[in-house]
Amino acid sequence: MDIDVKMTVNGKAVTGKVEPRTLLVQFIREHLRLTGTHVGCDTTQCGCCVVHVDGVAMKSCTMLAVQAEGRSVTTIEGLAAADGTLHPMQEAFREHHGLQCGFCTPGMVMMGVDIARRLPNADEKTVRHQLEGNICRCTGYQGIVEAIMDASAKMAAKA
């Protein structure tokens, strides 16, 4: 039996009818056609699907759409400003070559923003450990770690 869900995604109220087994990531990708959030595994390890739910990083592949009822979801599509200005984390990924193929990137950026929120002055070692749940096969993580540290500092200075 399908269930009605409603939530806020990237600032807009959305509704949908889903099977109970529909994952949040499926709702985002298939119902809302926001395909920036990716699915890279089925064991909650890779982090390609990380979004923010009520401002906190979560793996949208390990959450039912119905569990997001009434909550506010931000995906990679909702991170940049309305005028297209990149979020400091997105800008830092570009500046530090934090991406190659771009598949893990949305999850990495969303996790990066979450790390910056929680640990504004994290050192390199801390950032590396904070990326435990995000796998990248292209970059060797170096640009990602540099980007998160750089953006975190900039975000903290601005706050």
Partner: protein, 777 residues
Amino acid sequence: MGEFGIGQPVRRKEDVRLLTGGGQFTDDIDLEGQVYAAFVRSPHANAKIIAIDSSAARSMDGVIAVYTGQDLVDKGIGLLLNDASYTDRSGRPMSKPERQVMPVAQTRFVGEVLAMVVAETPSQARDAADAVEIDFDPSDAIASTAHALDPSAPKVWPQYDSNMVVHWEYGDQSDVDAKLAKSHKRVAVDLINNRLVVSPMEPRAAAAKWDAATQSLTVHTPSQGGRRLQMALAQQLLNLEPSKVRIISKDTGGGFGIRSKMYPETVMVSFAARELNRPVKWRGDRSETFVSDYHGRDQVNHAQMGFDAEGRITAMKLATLVNVGAYLSENGVRLPMEGGGRIIPCVYHVPDFYFSVKPVFTHTICTDTYRGAGRPEANYIMERLMDAGAKATGLSREEIRRRNFITQEQMPYKTHLGFTLDSGDFAGTLDMALKAADWAGFDTRRKEAATRGKHRGIGVASFIEGAGSRPTEGMRLSLDEKGDVTVFAGTYSHGQGHLTVYSQLVNEFLGVDFDKVKLVDGDTSLAPKVSVGTFGSRSSMVGGAGIKMAAEAIIAKGKKIAGHLLQTDAEKVVFANGAFQAGASSISLAEVAEAARDAKRIPEGMSPGLDETVTVELESENFPNGAHVCEVEVDAETGIVEIVSYVAVDDCGIVLNPFIVHGQVYGGVAQGVGQTLTENVVYDASGQLLTASYMDYGMPRAAHLSHIEALFNEVPAKTNPLGVKGAGEAGATGAPPAIVSAVVDALKPFGIDHIDMPLTPERVWRSIQNSKHGQAA
């Protein structure tokens, strides 16, 4: 030219799109009216297929069709072909079993596709796939490389004498044996090159659409350039004219060598789209990619080397077993010979060489090219031999390498199996790496670590690669009326930043603004006729040379048009700073491009437009090389290895964009770290894959790595007009021997000479437990 030309660390043009969710990976593409495929996979490694009952599945909600191998036979679908051809010294050809897209009678590895369900939704397809019942008669299986040739090993293909594909040999064994026997010192190493899951982050996927009106097929799928998929689908499998098959890869989430292979799922999705006349889409789960994407590496090597009294190599003997899996993939059987063999003896002069290769069948998924494709294996063997040689001769690890390097004076240097090394400053590169890593000051750091209870070690590896294989590629540059350039390429960027680098090159050669260059790639219908793809670190060389050559053709034609417009001889026109000049007159490239479109403004008989397609045909590959130094700390009590510093000095020839090349080095090193410390495919004796998810397969995470310092020793290649050397695979080649050398150095107090990869904590701990000393001396 300027801030966007060759050698500048230009930021990537690709990034804003990918950073804002604008990527278009295969699963992001929906085709109108699409239906969904799910596959039924073999749970057995070796079993007769007695019967397949799909009646329950067919009757389920939303199910449109169920196909089995017999349906493909009935419909005349072709075989997955392999064009490798080796013979043994008696002239006996290699075993070449046929591979059906879905087998009818026998399954030979866990995860093999045996049936396909098509349904209205992905869930319905999956539910119905679970309901397909297959009656099997299972038998014992063989998964182990080392035991595949045991007389008791079950045979993968009963029609052949053994699981050996062929016994291929190079060199004179008795001669080499004699030289080894006479050598001042001899060393021997037994090495396992561990099997790996390639694991690009985008799981494999395919979406196919059949157009009944034109009888043509369009397939969206991740690739490394679709031409080979197009040709195989058309000519071998679906019996179509190649022009009726179009492969599109908009974005591809990593390749690393396994993306341009023809997989059964791609064939099946295409077949079903044609049968049903409806678009069919499939996205693999990660668990499916673990069992069915081709794996990498998987060699067992025994190598011997002799040294004279000065520590110079006298001869080398190498015996390689390589696990090709249950079938012959496109390249699996070739890798030891054409991937690794041709680059041996790597950066060292080896006067005499005997090489024996035995590819073996096992009940496992095929192996094929993975980042480095034979070269990491070859260099790993050489570097372990050199470390063993250092110990045997009493020379330091750096000194024995210096004594044996092929020098620039010896170049061009022909390797035993036929590469000709054109350039490389191996000693200089090594010195740079040792200096950057403060090799000389290591002892202080070792002592400091000891005060914290850690065993610190340092390791070095020199290596060389062959990059740019099959150096033929087409390239088209097209200028619009504003002089903006579109590059049409047969190479295909799936993370390497071709749009950025090609824009730099167009900027360099034509003076066109960096921002006014577009790239069209990943579409067989738009690529130049001669298009091969992106693999083997080839795109900087063949793509770069292609852009240079096409730009020259544009300039040559532009000069004629400019001469016509300026009413002067074309020979008197020079092209500089983005403009054609004749005496005091000048006309911009953009103006010429606009004029070129007007038949009345160009010389009579000239075809309109500034749009040139060229085919690059280079004579040889290029030979990127480097020296990597790694420092580790080992907790001897737990066996945990921590990488504490890493210096990579690479000779990638002329560096087109250091920002991007650094990224290639970092990524390659990470994959090398993975192979060395965390990654390992394990099949049990019955052929079940035990490492079938990220829960069990150790993908390297950020915390497994340290900061990597990457430097260049740019020695221009002589084999291509830009002087470039491929940068993509160096890291994965240099890292394993450097790290193993470092760990073994750290464990020197225990008298440990070698530990096989991956150096997991338990393996390291056990080595210490089993060592002569048990406790550190």
